[in-house]
């Protein structure tokens, strides 16, 4: 009898734990959606934060350009090298251009670009807002009747949404150019075949797919990173934990969203 009770208690505790976790996750998602949504809605409400938006676009977009360019160049180069190695086994090196272009434009440009943006810009967004929380700057803004959602969160989300498609397009072009250099100049693939196959195989749908991904990832990074900073525990450890979590959730979220977008919509 008593053993049964203990077993039931154990079972109940286990189920309770699981339920609590799930409810917590749902509440977390809901809170993030509400913070992001209410911040984005403020885009229609004056005062407009044009200056802060420009400053954020400078910090997040222009600041990430170098790392995006380096990542793009090396991605294109290694793709060309590996693609050549594989295609040469079938004697179809002439397809190298389309192989490199399709992988970069459809997949690697948006995903690697987004991961780089999470690592470089996302972490700084979370840390910055988290420290504003610790040092009570957010409260100070509220005291002065300035809504921190419209002054701090909104410009950052809009900046990532606009910056990522631009950065991804630059990533694509630099990657293709680097792939061309390795494929044509170093490995000796026919230049006409490389560019001709590339142009013939890239359809408008592929470009739209890449840009849609970039827009969605930009929104995801902006909302996750601002939210993690906004709700960070106001302690030193809290900010450190929030920054780590923002990068982890942002990166994993990008990869998960990438699969969902690719399989269902694009």
């Amino acid at each position: 009898m008593s053993e049964q009770v203990i077993a039931q208690n154990g079972m109940a505790r286990l189920l309770g734990k699981l339920g609590r976790k799930v409810l917590g996750a749902v509440a977390w998602l809901g809170d993030m959606a509400s913070v992001t949504g209410s911040s984005l809605a403020l885009i229609f409400v004056p005062p407009w934060q044009g200056k802060h938006f420009v400053l954020q676009l400078y910090a997040l977009g222009v600041g990430s350009f170098i790392i995006i360019a380096i990542t793009g160049a090396f991605t294109g180069m290694v793709l060309s090298l590996q693609g050549y190695y594989t295609l040469a086994k079938f004697g179809s090196e002439s397809l190298l251009g389309s192989a490199v272009a399709l992988s970069i434009i459809r997949e690697l440009g948006p995903v690697l670009g987004a991961l780089m943006l999470v690592g470089r810009a996302g972490s700084s967004i979370t840390a910055e807002i988290g420290i504003m929380r610790v040092t009570q700057q957010l409260d100070a803004l509220q005291m002065m009747a300035v809504n921190p959602q419209s002054r701090i969160i909104l410009p950052r989300i809009v900046a990532t949404i606009i910056a990522l498609p631009i950065l991804v397009s630059m990533f694509d072009i630099i990657g293709l150019a680097a792939g061309y250099v390795v494929g044509v100049e170093m490995l000796g693939v026919n230049a006409g075949a490389f560019t001709g196959e590339m142009i013939a195989k890239i359809l408008p749908e592929d470009l739209y797919a890449g840009w849609t991904k970039a827009l969605v990832f930009g929104a995801l990074i902006g909302s996750v990173c601002t939210y993690m900073g906004y709700r960070a525990e106001p302690t030193t450890e809290g900010v450190a934990k929030a920054t780590t979590q923002a990068v982890v959730i942002g990166s994993v979220g990008v990869l998960m969203m990438d699969y969902i977008l690719t399989s269902f919509f694009l």
Partner: protein
């Protein structure tokens, strides 16, 4: 404020560079609103289009002279292709359109062989003489079965 002006300028340059990148990709790679959209349309009906897709090449004498537009099945269950031919190319009314393959396993394209007629096709006209795709599997199986019967 001077510092901010400088930042504003750099951001402007960044966005401009982004717009140039996006439109370069759209025009050069995707050919959105580019060369693919121009040219005059001709119709051609095939019994077998052999997996032809819109965007495939239309060639004459081995030179690309246009692209395949729409590929649909018509009311008589045949494949109707819209060919977008470059404006500077005129095609005789007795020309032959055939679905060909680049190499053995390469991609499909439409080959146009000019006829001897003086009359030229106008936009929207149909190329009457067509030759469908050669299906290698059919050829192979025909060969195998005809030789086993002997």
């Amino acid at each position: 404020m001077n510092e901010y002006k400088k930042i504003e300028m750099i951001v402007g340059a960044f966005v401009l560079l982004g717009i140039i990148s996006i439109s370069w990709m759209a025009i050069k790679l995707g050919q959105i609103g580019g060369i693919g959209a121009t040219g005059y349309p001709l119709q051609a009906v095939f019994t077998d289009a052999g997996g032809m897709r819109s965007g495939s090449d239309v060639m004459m004498a081995g030179v690309v002279i246009g692209r395949v537009g729409e590929v649909v099945v018509n009311e008589r269950s045949r494949a109707r292709l819209t060919l977008l031919i470059n404006d500077d190319i005129s095609i005789t009314s007795d020309a032959i359109a055939s679905v060909r393959t680049k190499g053995i396993i390469g991609e499909r394209y439409v080959r146009i062989s000019q006829g001897g007629d003086d009359e030229m096709l106008l936009a929207g006209d149909e190329i009457e003489e067509t030759e469908s795709a050669i299906n290698i599997e059919d050829l192979v199986s025909k060969y195998i079965f005809s030789s086993s019967e002997e």
